[in-house]
């Protein structure tokens, strides 16, 4: 009996240790052998899923994402969200090649029970019965608390042509969200879960993915002349006649992506111990130094300001022009960028994409937030760091474009993207991706979040901001935090660094920028400098003292009046400049609708500037942030001359028609 007890303890400790080693909890691991049929555009796969029940209760069903079924028909939720007449989709859909599907042919559990008949499609988000992107499998033997079970699947996929993010075109394949992937079993108390439950959303047009950590071993059998790139490290390559089997492995990631084409040119570089691999097309090879340099920049920056990148490789895929639909995507240790054979150096799209997509290795890959429910947590954070990285290495005012005399910085570009959008108030920052029914997903999830993070940086200081990001990374890496987990980190760090300066917590800030739609606009309304008269009137009750304009009090009263035009309330700094060259920095809690600063003395105010260091990136109009007593003659003349010359040029050019 004792022997059995010892054996039981040993075996359960073995299973408990599975998934505990390494960097992540390793909830869902996969071993997949697939064959790519380039004639039929199909994948045939045998897939082993090793799933650990993270709960202390048994789990009686599994839920899988079947992403390719989003392209199965025009009635899927994805297609209804996007519309079949979307420019990207319609061509392939019209010719019939865009439609795709995944069919699970069989599924067995560890005990050999056939689960194929237990599969049903469910629609947790919208009850759209035509949507088959979430598959529920009722288990014959529930997975016991903390236990690990293995499931064997056989499936076949028809690959879509030129669908968003994934698919094939000509001989190029970009295979992402391509296999039946188990959802996330959330435990009560984690994120917003009130009880242990599956979190497995249907595939929507906006927003992306959410998965658990695990290890992947994927063997891809492709035609011999095709070159394969994938997440992780190439472990084996076997040539078998007209076919080659490429085996890649990667640990502690939330997903696996791969790509193949016979035209790939493979180039390599290194940053410290990380191998940087570039898969590009021959006529894009000249862009390789740009890709490598920007990757090295972002690796170094994130290492210093957030945390270490723990994986041995990072692969950049530079798709051909007919693979445009797959550019600018992020998957564990594999990202896609974009370049053209004629890309001017001053147009930094390849650098921006490499930077942005790599930062996703932190925000949604290692810190595995929910891209669908809280897109701001990955896209917004990534956009914020994108600006920091780009501005550091390419310059604050030319990190996005420095071409033909036009210079645009990354942060300013993001700010204007948001402010110039049709309706910056269309939704709050914490809106779920599929709830952006009428626009705003890009500008709010990406740009607005980046703006308020920059504003937070301005308010609490760059050191505190770095501390916030490092603490957040350390605390939540390889886990699934939600928005409240991030704000809690902010509260902790701000309290540690600033005490009660910003109140008990930072809710006042997040309520406005994240959960609200209010806009921020502070303005200098007026500056005045007036002589002070001696007291006059019925000063002692009976005798009138006449106002003597000749007899003035020494000195004068100078006044700056500020207005709060927007609904947002933020603490602001105001720099007041005096005639004798001195200046005074004032602080205003920004709460009242207006505020004045009055100075008595000999010196006149010559100008006043709200937020002189431009810390408040949320301010919608910087032009009214300052005012000078005298018109800014030089600047006005510059714009007049520029406009005059432009008008003359236009008039002269039009005479070419005569």
């Amino acid at each position: 009996m004792l022997r059995y007890i010892v054996l039981l303890i040993l075996s359960s400790s073995f299973f408990m240790s599975f998934g505990q080693s390494g960097l992540s909890p390793k909830i869902a691991s996969y071993d997949i052998n697939l064959v790519l049929d380039v004639d039929q555009k199909k994948v045939f796969a045998d897939q082993k899923l090793i799933w650990r029940n993270p709960s202390d209760k048994e789990v009686s069903d599994l839920q899988f994402h079947i992403y390719y079924n989003a392209f199965k028909n025009s009635e899927s939720t994805f297609m209804k969200d996007r519309g079949v007449f979307d420019g990207l989709l319609s061509e392939a859909l019209e010719e019939g090649t865009g439609w795709a599907r995944t069919d699970i042919l069989e599924m067995f559990d560890e005990a050999g029970n056939d689960l194929t008949e237990n599969m049903t499609y469910i629609q947790p988000d919208d009850d759209n019965e035509k949507d088959q992107t979430v598959l529920r499998v009722k288990l014959e033997n529930p997975v016991q608390a903390g236990a690990i079970d293995t499931f064997q699947l056989k499936w076949v996929s028809k690959i879509p042509k030129t669908m968003p993010r994934t698919g094939y075109n000509k001989e190029y394949y970009f295979m992402v969200q391509w296999f039946p992937k188990v959802g996330v079993y959330e435990l009560a108390g984690s994120r917003y879960a009130e009880e242990d439950q599956w979190n497995c959303h249907q595939y929507h047009s906006s927003g992306e993915y959410y998965s658990d950590f695990g290890d992947y071993k994927v063997s891809m059998d492709v035609p011999a002349d095709y070159i394969v790139g994938a997440s992780g490290v190439l472990k084996d390559k076997q040539e078998k006649g007209a076919r080659t089997i490429w085996t890649y492995e990667v640990e502690d990631v939330i997903d696996f992506a791969w790509t193949t084409s016979p035209h790939y040119s493979v180039m390599k570089d290194k940053w410290e111990d990380v191998e940087i691999k570039l898969l590009t097309y021959p006529n894009h090879e000249h862009c390789a130094p740009r890709f490598f340099q920007s990757m090295k920049n972002v690796l170094a920056y994130m290492d210093e300001h957030v945390g270490a990148y723990p994986y041995p490789t990072i692969t950049i895929v530079d798709p051909p022009i007919h693979g445009l639909f797959t550019g600018g995507m992020e998957y564990p240790t594999l990202i896609s960028s974009l370049s053209f054979c004629f890309f001017p150096k001053g147009v930094r799209t390849p650098e921006i994409l490499v930077t942005h997509e790599f930062i996703h290795q932190y925000f949604m890959q290692m810190i595995a937030t929910h891209e669908v429910e809280e897109p701001w947590m990955d896209e917004g954070f990534t956009t914020y760091f994108e600006s920091r990285v780009m501005n550091k290495y390419y310059g604050e005012y030319n990190s996005t474009i420095d071409f033909a005399g036009i210079q645009i910085g990354n942060a300013e570009f993001n700010r204007i993207e948001f402010l110039s959008s049709d309706n910056p108030k269309i939704a709050a920052g914490n809106t779920k991706s599929w709830e952006y029914k009428h626009g705003g997903y890009g500008t709010i999830a990406y740009n607005k979040t980046a703006m308020w993070l920059k504003t937070l940086e301005g308010i609490v200081g760059i050191e505190a901001m770095d501390d916030i990001m490092k603490s957040y990374f350390e605390k939540w890496k390889f886990q699934h935090p939600c928005g409240e987990d991030f704000t809690a980190v902010v509260d902790d760090v701000v309290r540690k660094r600033h005490g009660d300066k910003f109140g008990e917590n930072m809710d006042w800030f997040f309520d406005q920028v994240l959960y609200g739609t209010v806009e921020c606009d502070y303005a200098v309304k007026s500056i005045s400098n007036s002589k002070q008269a001696q007291p006059a009137g019925f000063l002692d009750g009976e005798t009138v003292v006449a106002l003597d304009v000749e007899k003035l009090k020494p000195g004068q009263a100078s006044k700056v009046i500020l207005h709060r035009l927007g609904e947002m309330i933020l603490p602001i700094e105001v720099l007041v400049n005096f005639e004798n060259g001195t200046a005074k920095m004032e602080y205003w809690d920004g709460k009242a609708r207006s505020k004045e600063f009055v100075y008595e003395g000999e010196q006149k105010i010559i100008s006043a500037i709200i937020d002189p260091e431009k810390k408040i990136d949320m301010d919608t109009n910087y032009l009214n942030n300052s005012m000078a007593l005298e018109p800014q003659a030089t600047g006005i003349r510059k714009y007049f001359v520029n406009f005059l010359l432009a008008a003359q040029e236009a008039l002269q050019s039009i005479t070419a028609l005569i």
Binding site: P320, Y397, I636
Partner: protein
Amino acid sequence: MRSVITVLFSGLKALFSNWEMWLLVYGVNVFFALFVALPFNSFFKSSLGNSLAVNESLNRFDYTFISDFLNEYGLGFSQVLNQSYFVLALFLLLSVFLMGGIIDSLLGKRAEFSFKAFWTACHHHFWRLLRLTIYYFLFHIGLLLIFVQIFSIGGLSPFELETDADVISRVQWVGGFYLFFVALIMMFQDYAKVKVVQTDERWITNSALAGIGFTFRHFFACMFLFIIQVLFFVFMTFVYITIRKQFFMSSEGTILLALFLGQIYLFGRMGVKLLRLSIAGEHIRVYKEETSKHI
């Protein structure tokens, strides 16, 4: 070749001997441009003349400044722009009006430039030159549409392209041919204008056809002269841009310098435009003289 060089120099001579007309053309340009720029200046001054952001944006291309301006004051700015479309249309008509006087003066019928004769010729040839302008405008539109169609053969969808180098090679080939045909139409137009003024017939068809005929008969000479003028323009533009790149308009001095350089450049551009007509006129005249000698 000798006669072509003669044409070039006599064209230059005709241009310089009509410098008053050149100045007039420049003056009209400045006048109309001020019609657009002054309202902008007053709008700009009243909206944000006292904002420190105006002077802060002196040292660079300030995207934030420009974007905030358009976001906040875009409505007022677009009103100024809308007004400028009207000015542009008016300028176009006036330029057609001036064309008759310009060509008449350049043809060298008088020993000295005369404003009276200039205005008379403007008035006399206006309607015919307007018709010619409309016809050639339609030719240009037609040519553009044809070449857009040619450019699109094989599809423009990036998803259909094998490689983006296809686009580059199309731009090179189709763009090259397009520019050639544009140049051809411009040459036809220049010689046709001269013929319209010279023959002074009510209907312009004969003159237009004569212009085309002359261009074809002397194709290489016409093309050579046209290319020389294009090179003048390219050289001037290159020098102007190179100098302008050397400094920012960040002080009163540099703003004045930019204005001065801009005016010289524009004056030069107008000169090149006038030179084209002058050369066309001289070319026809020299050819006529040579033909009559042979007879």
